[in-house]
Symmetry: D3
Subunit: 339 residues, 6 copies
């Protein structure tokens, strides 16, 4: 099971506890970025995972490599050079105060990288799967071009391709997103994204649903999934369903579709430690489930349990082991200490 992911790695600078950026005399530093989280998750589950990006030749870039290596990710195809690493300042919300992200990621090494920076034949020659998030083509036109070439090369070598649509309004407009992303869908086998992503990135409007609300209309999602399948022929479609009760507590489940069946997973009510990385951890779980031949329901339960656990861990990477995911899937939600 050999999975390649490609994207931008960022350092998330986060004030301690629930402090605001304004109060921060110091910041915790977490290394992450959507596809690097997927790569780290898969490596922890036992897959061979390879992460592709471009990182600057400075202590921060070298540290990013160390963080990936520590998780067992293959970093040998990471390009070195460029100006800077992407950063973001992230304020943990609480109760009705939302979390806040201040991106400082422009002009990053990865945003300014071009397809020529990467040895895509070497990268994909032995790959079974390629995964990328919609954030990566959003960071620059160069990056969009890189993603396109990567997808084409992946297909050339017979790898499955998955995309996590992940719309970011601070990076591009719906119009721009659609103009870039829709042409890429021809290469995509597995599409992940919630109803906001489906609308902004692919143009499918889900009725009666509002990502800012806690209630769910699963039926609306089903209609959207069917339309997506019809238009793009995806093998699998998956969406996490986040019920945002507040910045402190969320409901968390997922809907999966394989073109025939729908499966709505169990719902976890999460006292959030850090919601960041939840979506990427779900994508990792879904890829792992499909590659392991789990079937739709077990894939969904695995992916939603893995990603729920992520949100109880501070930092970007999903620092859970596969045994913990299975334990949660088996109904062990009491949080009782084993001793």
């Amino acid at each position: 099971m050999r999975v390649v992911t490609l994207g931008e790695m960022m350092i998330r600078l986060m004030p301690k506890g629930n402090l605001r950026i304004e109060q921060a005399e110091e910041f915790e530093a977490y290394y992450g970025g959507d596809e690097s989280i997927v790569a780290a998750s898969l490596a922890r589950f036992g897959a061979e995972s390879r992460y592709v990006t471009k990182l600057p030749d400075n202590p921060l870039g070298r540290n990013a490599v160390r963080k990936l290596r520590a998780q067992g990710v293959d970093t040998s195809f990471i390009a070195v050079g460029g100006e800077r690493m992407g950063l973001n300042f992230y304020e943990n919300g609480a109760s009705m105060r939302p979390s806040y992200v201040l991106y400082d990621r422009k002009h990053s090494a990865m945003a300014e990288a071009t397809p020529d920076d990467f040895d895509f034949d070497g990268i994909f020659r032995d790959a079974d799967w390629f995964h990328v998030a919609g954030i990566t083509p959003a960071i620059s036109d160069n990056a969009a071009q890189t993603v396109k070439v990567a997808m084409q090369t992946a297909k050339k070598y017979g790898a499955k391709v998955s995309v996590d649509l992940n719309y970011r309004s601070k990076l591009w407009s719906p119009e721009k997103a659609q103009s870039v992303m829709i042409p890429l869908m021809q290469y995509v086998d597995v599409c992940i994204g919630n109803e906001e992503d489906a609308e902004k990135v692919l143009g499918f409007r889900t009725e009666n649903t509002d990502v800012n609300k806690a209630a769910l209309d699963v039926e609306g999602y089903r209609k959207t999934f069917r339309a997506m399948k019809e238009k793009f022929g995806f093998s699998y479609i998956g969406s996490t369903l986040r019920q945002s009760y507040s910045a402190s507590d969320n409901g968390w489940s997922a809907l999966l579709y394989d073109g025939k069946e729908f499966y709505h997973t169990s719902t976890y009510d999460i006292r959030l430690v850090d919601r960041g990385g939840g979506g990427a951890s779900f994508a990792a779980g879904m890829i792992y489930g499909i590659l392991s031949g789990f079937g739709l329901a077990k894939t969904g339960e695995f992916a939603v349990a893995a990603s729920a656990l992520k949100q109880t861990v501070r930092g970007d990477f999903n620092l859970t082991d596969i045994g913990e995911v299975y334990s949660l899937m088996s109904g062990n939600t009491s949080g009782r200490v084993q001793r």
Copy 2:
């Protein structure tokens, strides 16, 4: 919009997280005090706010000035001298363990200041509003005299006067409070205080209500407000309504009265980060709403939203911006990250 507030500034020494004072090998230091919170809030909302106090000529006193200046508060009328700053050691409660305050504020520069320490004509010449809390006259007879002279001078220059009754049982008895506060009511246009304050400070007993309980009897409040209006002729009366489910979770709303209408605001269920400063932030919101001509309902919603947000922020000052208050007022309570 030019608002003057007067009071004592204190340093709140707080163990990390939920540690007890007994466990504290170190303390976080927050500079606050009721009226300084009001001044800082108003400055952040865009008003010109001036804070009046007396601070000792030492690094702590100078630091207090820096904290105010950082918020944009006019500190040019702060008197310098006296013996010490007021301190308090504050232990954050959790669940059914209440928070605990150990005052160490006696003999402070402000407690020992007299009206002669302040240039009240300069202070109020260009002022539209004067605000003070009932804590300030409670700290010493000198301070009570200072408050009285301040109110009189404020009226002389045509400013509106608001008071937040804020009864503190560790500072004075109901008898003493009433003997000092009732004679001051003649200068007061806007009176803020919950039913405990109304009873202990002004002698109005609200029936069927208990500040230690989570349930609310809004009707009892209405009766008390009508009686207060009748006796003292206040233009506006406001009270926050805190439902103390536990030291970790509170309900939060407010009741306002303009002599004609009552308005009971929306209720927020708050996972508390730091309940300190909630009342003062409400007072700042109410002053801002009235001075902005918001009308009773919008004033109430603004003030309760601002003060709910405060309680999701650690420290005394309400480090929110007006846009965040409007966003919460418009129903954005999901805590969903915008990115």
Copy 3:
């Protein structure tokens, strides 16, 4: 009121906040261990408490003594020597992620101590009560022997004996536990333990109950208690009833039995700060109540309130004072600040 407790003291090394051990670049260090928590609680309530253990002659061992002395515990009978202190690495869970304990306690001074290390006549000559947990005989055969001699000497001097069964699956099997513990029951007057302990340690199976579930079947407990009373003739039996909603929130109550009456206490819903030490704090409360002649109901309410408060405090020792316990018992659960 002179109480002796005997056991092993450990240092609990805990990552900051909710971090995983994997993320920990630093650990908080808490000194604890079941019977030392009981001793410290009783000393804080005003009893004369004496803790007996063996500690190595190094800075960690000396520090353990200092932590006990600070609580007012008599440490004059602690043996000095041996190889090391027991340690554990403890990861605070959150939401559906359970807390995790990694014991590193083998070969500790106490595990390798023998009865000859202790002057049991001196220890018990003036004692009214002896308490030990089932963890202590589990750590080694030597320790089991030491507990046996301690119980015999305690009885020789007329002290009551209590045991908190406290089954630890990482230390021994049910078979081993029963072979050691059942013969000790002849010395025991007061037996504390939940239904899992009763089954694993004494062989009583409680029907329809699952310690991993949030729901309670109090009737099942009653049957088990009656059977225990019948077989071993305990004067009192007590069990805490933890409803594990998640790693963040628990329900907490207790059932007590004096051979005639059952008493099911009030239930507290606790937002957990640190669940560690809850059981030991309950045992301390129960001992204090019985020695104070509180009667069954007041004893139960005292013990459950004391131990609920513990779980709002970080660290092992129950750093509450008796006034706080009484205040909570009297219904003061609002967490409202007194100021």
Copy 4:
């Protein structure tokens, strides 16, 4: 005494203690930048100081304003807008391991600002002095143009102009530096810079001197100063003389020249807490001395004492008060506690 400074403000992200960036799981955040340090120093000494820059409209930019306001700096002419704040990651060296700066300051609001962003007439109408460092024109051509217009406007209103040459090899080459800076010298009255700056920025080679060595050849400096005076007609020239024994210990003195006399100040041997900001603090001291009419020797002693004290303080701003500077000037170097 009304001084204007103009430049870029940055956040310095610094690992705790002496940790390397590679080890940093968290960073302390200090707000600084050469001319903002000068402005803050002068405000603390009692001058009216105004700082001009452009800052982005986000929490970091607003925080920078708060840090300046806290020091009493006039921030009313700061332009708001642009993309980002400049950052740098700064590793504190130790012993023979040098400190390390990783600039991440490109594309900052100030680098992309143009003269049109600033109301220079308003800024300089009431100014006595204008100060800028050679770092500012180095950050971009726009910034160089902004500095030029600022200098011209300053002269129009009769202000003295000082420049701290401050060559930064990571920002520009000597050729580029000279092409920009030499034409600006016509506006400059007071020129500050060490022999490396003189060579790289203005083309004056000082013989027998090496900034990497601990030894000093003051005579070489005198020659260079005379040549600079001759060519550009500066009223005053000053240079700090740093003897870099190691990253932990430095010698610190200064040479001043008024076209007639040379003055070599006392030398302080500093156990460095944070060498950052030493040069800017010297510039502030020199401006303060000249504006106060101290004469050459007292100006030099004041400036070198102030800047030595800075290097015993962590962070960018020189958080000393004028009394501390006078005390050190008077020979009080024993570090003895006054109590």
Copy 5:
């Protein structure tokens, strides 16, 4: 060996590392006070030591007791009551920046205590030695009276009396100090104090010496000691000799006199971790040496080694064990790790 000490206990609030009070968003809290340091030192050396003070009935006061108990000090004669604990804010200097103390100790429980608060007969009945510092009578007239009664009672029961003159210019003037202290000298057997103390407190001027200078004139001290002996008949006189090279590095030795011989100890050059508590640790060492019959030279070497070690430890108490003192006395100054 049973030693009683009496004085005020304070909490020292200290910014992290070398930060200034102005920068402190948090303070480390150390419990200390001159005579409590002596008591803790003696307890650690194995003496029975009893500390007498008055502490308020609040969590800070109770914590002070716990800190003493942890060191093995007998706290059973501590009076409980009064208004507050004394505090001080302490800024660690560095290099030529001196450390700074901001006392906030007025109105403390001990300052307002009277002799009637203490059971002096019980305190001294079994005592061999009584020690007090000149700081204690300086805090209030009541405290001066308490010290006098304590000395008289100590003499009544045959205890030796030592005093550490310890002049504090922020507490009283030389005139006041002499009026209080000189009459107490009739009770004193052992007098400790440097030449500044001798002058300010007892009126003996030592020539050619300046406490702010690094150089020593031991001969001047000898003259002063002879004069003190002559006037007051002390059995022993001792003075530490601190050479204040800077706030970071000090020389440290001592001069002792038994009326016949002088002994000037070895000198330690100390890289200071925390100079606080050095003097008190010397006093403890001198008392221990005399009571142990060490003779003049060994007493001096013991006391100076113990107090040098203190200054390598952060916090007030001298957290060294007697074995470490002996090891340093034997010439083991290399700081080489034993492993």
Copy 6:
């Protein structure tokens, strides 16, 4: 360049800053152990390095692997299993207070491992060099046997063998050390160790030298080296020469011998940040130099510069890059910031 190292990995638990273990409410955690430091250094210099050990199957063991992987060390031959990781509590000394190590490493997975746990043929088949320290055979007889088999297998595949004698008095006696180590010397090509190691481990007494003293007698070393060469036929012998001025400052140089020439390197005076890992970093530098064909002088300068830099970095691993070593070798000792 393919190097294998074998040994035990430990977690060093270290109080913050200079605090004593007694004061530590929290510990920093550093993963290290002599041969793992060598492996990490070599990987950072660009060699392929493989570390062999046995680690327990728990979060600490898995974390140790992550720390090695992050440095680029090949961890694929690490055995998993056993009881626990070795720990040590390490107190940073200061000035004349020595650092202190409390080992808690008995019964570790590596101490109880046997040669059968390792696939030595796989490990050494492609190896050029094998390195081990004298600490490893000291931890248990099993470990000594494992080292012997490893050396034999290394020789079988033609690898050079180096040993760092590293005598640890807390682990074994000189007699035991010699009985184990001398028979191993037949396999050793490169021997590293100071004169204490030579005496305690191999029985060579160096005259006129004392490791606890700051002075050096290089001639004595030369004699010892010649005798070692004669007896065991080593190709290279190296010794670091640490001059322990105090726990804060050390001199650091090295003497190398290739059987023909002696080379005494430059001496660095180090303000210590963390002396731990200095010796292992020297060994890594020496191995790197020899394998790179640097010649004796350059090898010595490289190794001593690398290991001097280590001592300016907190933690066990030598987190320097090869460019920094070359820069220091070239005389860049001023610690001047490059910017």
